[in-house]
C-alpha cells in the first residue's frame, strides 16, 4: 500500500540534520518577523494590563471573547501530538514515523500558547497563580469544583508528559548531532543527550519509556479537552453551553483541528526544508487525509447531535439563541463559513486520492479546517453569551478590539517562533524512529520462507 522510504541511513541523516548543521537563508528573517509579532502582542498585553480590560471589546453580558476562543483553539491543536504519537504508536500505524516529532513539538508549543492565554484573559494576571493547588500563604485552597482549577492541572500534566516524550525521543538523535559537531556545540549536545551511547540497554529503556508514556498519556487525551469543555458545560444559565455532549464533542473537534494542523505543518516542512520531501512522502499525507475523513465525519455527527439535542426541547431561549447563531448577520455568515471550511469543503476534497497526495491542496484544505474550528469556538462562546438570559434587556453583542486581535496574533506567532527555533537546534524528523521502521522491515530468508529480521516492540 505504501511506498517505502528508498534511502539509506546516511541519506536520512544528511537530510534531517541539514537544517541544524547549515542554516537556511530564510530562517533568520522568519524568526525576526515572528518575534516582531510576539513583541507587538506582548506590548498590547501590557497596554491592556495598564489600562484595564476596558481596552478589549468585552462587555456585559459577553464577558468571554477572543482570548477564551483562542485558548480552546490551541488546546485543540495540541491534541495532534497525542493522536499521532500515542494512539498511532499503540496501534502500530507505521506511516506515523516521520511525523511523530513534528506532531509532538507542535503539541508542546501550542500547549504553551494555550497556557499563557488565560494570563491575557483574567482581570488581574499578576494573581493568576492563585488557581494552582498550592497554599500561597493565603489560607485558601483553590475551589476544586471549578473547571478553572482543573484546567491548569490537566493542561500542565499534558505539557509535562509531551515535553518528556519529546525529550525521550530526542535522545538518540541528539547523540547523532553530538557526533557530527565539534567544539562547544558538541559538548552542549553531549550534555543534552544524557550520555547516550546506543547500548542495547539504553535502547531497551528508551523504547519502554516511549511506550509507557504513550499509554499513560491516554487518560490525558480524554481529560484535557473534557475539562476545557466543562468551562462551558457547567454553566446552566447559558443556553448554548449547558450540554452533556460537550466533552466528547470538544475532544473529537480537537482531534479534527489537531491532525489537520499536523498535515499543514507537514506540507510546510516538505516545502521549506530541502530533501524533506524524500522522507515525508505523499503517502503520509494520503494516510493523514484518510484519517481526517473519519475524524471530521465523527465530529460532524457530534455537531449535528449538539444542535439536535438543544432544539429537541423547543425552549424559547434556546430557539432565540440558535436563531441568532444560524440566521442573524454577522453570525449567520460566520456560521456558513464555519460549516464550509470545517467540513463541506475539505472532506469532499479528501475523498479524492489526487487531492490527498497533492501538497498545495492538502495545505489549503487543512488550513481551512483550522479556520473553521476557530470559528466553531467563536460561535459557541460569543452568540451564547450575547443571548444569555431570557431577559431581553440584557442582550448584547461583541466586537473584538485591535488589542485583542494583536494578542491573538501573538499566540500564533509564538507557536511558529517556537517551531522555527526548535527546527534550528533539533531535528524535526525523528531519525531513530525512521531507522527503527526500516529495521522492522528488514527481512531475512530462512530456507524458503521470509521472516522479519527483528521482533516488534
Amino acid at each position: 500500500m505504501q511506498e517505502h522510504i528508498q534511502l539509506n541511513q546516511k541519506e536520512i541523516n544528511d537530510i534531517s540534520l541539514s537544517p541544524i548543521l547549515e542554516t537556511p537563508k530564510w530562517w533568520l528573517p522568519a524568526v525576526l518577523i515572528t518575534f516582531g509579532f510576539i513583541v507587538t502582542g506582548l506590548a498590547a498585553f501590557f497596554y491592556m494590563v495598564y489600562h484595564g480590560l476596558g481596552v478589549t471589546g468585552l462587555n456585559r453580558p459577553v464577558f468571554w471573547g477572543f482570548f477564551i476562543v483562542n485558548f480552546v483553539f490551541w488546546i485543540g491543536i495540541s491534541h495532534a501530538g497525542i493522536m499521532i504519537s500515542a494512539i498511532l504508536r499503540l496501534t502500530q500505524a507505521e506511516w506515523r514515523r516521520p511525523i511523530t516529532r513534528a506532531a509532538e513539538v507542535l503539541t508542546v508549543f501550542s500547549l504553551m500558547a494555550a497556557l499563557h492565554t488565560p494570563l491575557f484573559h483574567v482581570g488581574r494576571p499578576w494573581r493568576t497563580y492563585w488557581v494552582f493547588p498550592y497554599d500561597f500563604s493565603r489560607g485558601v485552597w483553590p475551589n476544586v469544583r471549578s473547571p478553572f482549577v482543573w484546567d491548569p492541572s490537566a493542561v500542565g500534566t499534558y505539557l509535562i508528559a509531551s515535553t518528556l516524550f519529546v525529550i525521550i525521543c530526542l535522545l538518540p538523535d541528539l547523540a547523532i548531532i553530538r557526533d557530527r559537531t565539534t567544539g562547544l556545540r558538541s559538548k552542549i549536545y553531549g550534555i543534552l543527550c544524557l550520555g547516550w551511547r546506543g547500548t542495547p540497554r539504553q535502547w531497551k529503556m528508551q523504547t519502554i519509556v516511549g511506550i509507557l508514556l504513550s499509554a499513560l498519556v491516554l487518560p490525558v487525551f480524554v481529560s484535557v479537552h473534557s475539562i476545557v469543555s466543562w468551562d462551558f458545560a457547567v454553566i446552566a444559565g447559558v443556553e448554548g453551553w449547558h450540554s452533556t455532549i460537550f466533552a466528547p464533542y470538544f475532544i473529537i473537534g480537537a482531534i479534527h483541528s489537531g491532525v489537520s494542523a499536523v498535515a499543514t505543518f507537514m506540507v510546510v516542512m516538505m516545502w521549506v526544508w530541502k530533501g524533506n520531501d524524500k522522507i515525508l512522502r505523499p503517502d503520509h499525507l494520503d494516510a493523514i487525509g484518510r484519517l481526517l475523513i473519519i475524524v471530521a465525519t465523527t465530529w460532524f455527527l457530534f455537531l449535528f447531535l449538539e444542535v439536535a439535542f438543544a432544539l429537541f426541547t423547543l425552549e424559547r431561549p434556546e430557539i432565540a439563541l440558535r436563531e441568532l447563531q444560524f440566521f442573524k448577520w454577522p453570525f449567520s455568515g460566520l456560521f456558513i463559513l464555519f460549516l464550509l471550511t470545517s467540513y463541506f469543503i475539505p472532506v469532499p476534497m479528501w475523498m479524492f486520492k489526487n487531492v490527498r497526495r497533492s501538497l498545495p491542496l492538502m495545505f489549503i484544505s487543512t488550513i481551512l479546517v483550522n479556520v473553521g474550528m476557530w470559528l466553531e469556538r467563536f460561535l459557541i462562546i460569543v452568540p451564547s453569551l450575547s443571548r444569555k438570559t431570557p431577559f431581553a434587556f440584557d442582550w448584547g453583542s461583541y466586537t473584538p478590539s485591535i488589542v485583542e486581535i494583536l494578542i491573538v496574533t501573538e499566540t500564533f506567532a509564538f507557536v511558529i517562533f517556537g517551531l522555527l527555533l526548535f527546527s534550528k537546534f533539533f531535528p524535526l524528523i525523528p531519525l531513530f524512529d525512521i531507522k527503527e521502521g526500516m529495521v522492522f522491515r528488514d527481512e531475512i530468508k530462512i530456507g524458503r520462507r521470509t521472516v522479519p529480521a527483528s521482533i516488534r516492540e
Binding site: R124, W130, A236, K388, F391, F393
Partner: protein, 261 residues
C-alpha cells in the same frame, strides 16, 4: 438564636421605575459614576438596575419595570465556578464577594443567569467634587475584578455590632440595617429583612404571597392560578437557584391577563 437569612421582597406593583434605588446604591457602595460611554460600551456598573420593558403597541404602550439585583441564591451558580473562592455563601444567607481574592476570570458572571455581576473594566474614577463622598465602610474596587450587590453587608455588620454592644436585638425594618436601595425606595416596593425570623415583615409577606416561609420549599408554588391572591414568585426559578429575593407580580387591572414571566 439561629443565624439570620437575609432576603428581600420586591413588589413590582409598587415600583414606579424612578431609579432612586439605583442612585442610593451608587452612593452607598462607592460605585463609579456611569456615564454615557459606559452605557454605549455596555459596561455600566449597577448593583441594582431597573429593567424596563415596553408592552403593547402605540398608543396603548405600558412600561413595565423589574428592579434586578443580586438574588443571593441559596444554590448560586456563580459560587462553584470561581476557582479562588472569591465568591461564596456565608452563614447569613448572603452570597459574598471577596474582592481581594478575585482574579477576574469572569466565570461567575457567565454563571449568573440574572446578569447582576459586574466587572471593573476600567480603574474607577470619581470627579473631584465627589472624592469626599466615598463611603469609608466600603472598599473601592480596583480594575480587573468582579463586584455585585452585597445587600449592603457593611450596614448589616454595623447594626449587628451595635446591637451586640447595646445588648439589644436587631429590629426588623431598622433603617440602619436596610440596604440603601430599600431606604431610597419612595413607594416601599423593596422590603428587606430576615427570612429566618417568622415575625419579620419579609417572612410574613413571603408566607402570604408565596404560601410558605423559609428556603428550599417550593412544592406548593407551581400550582397557583393566574388570578390567585398570591402574587409571589422567584425570578427565573427554573434554573433552580433558590433565590433569597421574592418578587410580587404586578396586578394589572386594565388588562385581563396577568403578566407572566
Amino acid at each position: 438564636m439561629a443565624n439570620p437569612s437575609w432576603g428581600m421582597v420586591i413588589d413590582n406593583d409598587k415600583c414606579t421605575g424612578c431609579n432612586a434605588c439605583v442612585i442610593a446604591c451608587q452612593s452607598e457602595n462607592n460605585i463609579p459614576i456611569n456615564e454615557e460611554d459606559h452605557f454605549t460600551q455596555r459596561r455600566p456598573i449597577q448593583w441594582i438596575r431597573i429593567e424596563r420593558y415596553w408592552e403593547g403597541e402605540f398608543p396603548n404602550v405600558k412600561a413595565r419595570f423589574i428592579p434586578v439585583l443580586c438574588q443571593h441564591c441559596a444554590d448560586a451558580p456563580c459560587e462553584p465556578v470561581c476557582p479562588v473562592y472569591a465568591t461564596y455563601h456565608n452563614d447569613q444567607g448572603l452570597n459574598v464577594q471577596v474582592y481581594n481574592r478575585c482574579i477576574g476570570t469572569r466565570f461567575c458572571a457567565n454563571g449568573c443567569p440574572y446578569q447582576v455581576r459586574h466587572f471593573n473594566f476600567w480603574e474607577p474614577e470619581w470627579p473631584d467634587s465627589l472624592e469626599n463622598q466615598l463611603n469609608p465602610d466600603v472598599t473601592v474596587r480596583t480594575r480587573g475584578i468582579m463586584e455585585k450587590c452585597t445587600f449592603c453587608v457593611q450596614r448589616i455588620q454595623r447594626t449587628k455590632r451595635e446591637s451586640e454592644k447595646n445588648n439589644t436585638s436587631i429590629k426588623d425594618g431598622d433603617r440602619q440595617l436596610n440596604p440603601a436601595c430599600v431606604n431610597g425606595c419612595a413607594t416601599d416596593a423593596l422590603v428587606f429583612g430576615d427570612f429566618n425570623n417568622p415575625e419579620s415583615k419579609v417572612s410574613k409577606m413571603k408566607k402570604k404571597e408565596l404560601g410558605h416561609g423559609g428556603h428550599g420549599d417550593h412544592s406548593d408554588h407551581d400550582g397557583h392560578e393566574e388570578h390567585d391572591e398570591k402574587r409571589g414568585y422567584h425570578l427565573l426559578e427554573e434554573y433552580g437557584t433558590h433565590p433569597s429575593v421574592v418578587y410580587l407580580k404586578k396586578v394589572d387591572y386594565e388588562s385581563k391577563t396577568v403578566e407572566k414571566h
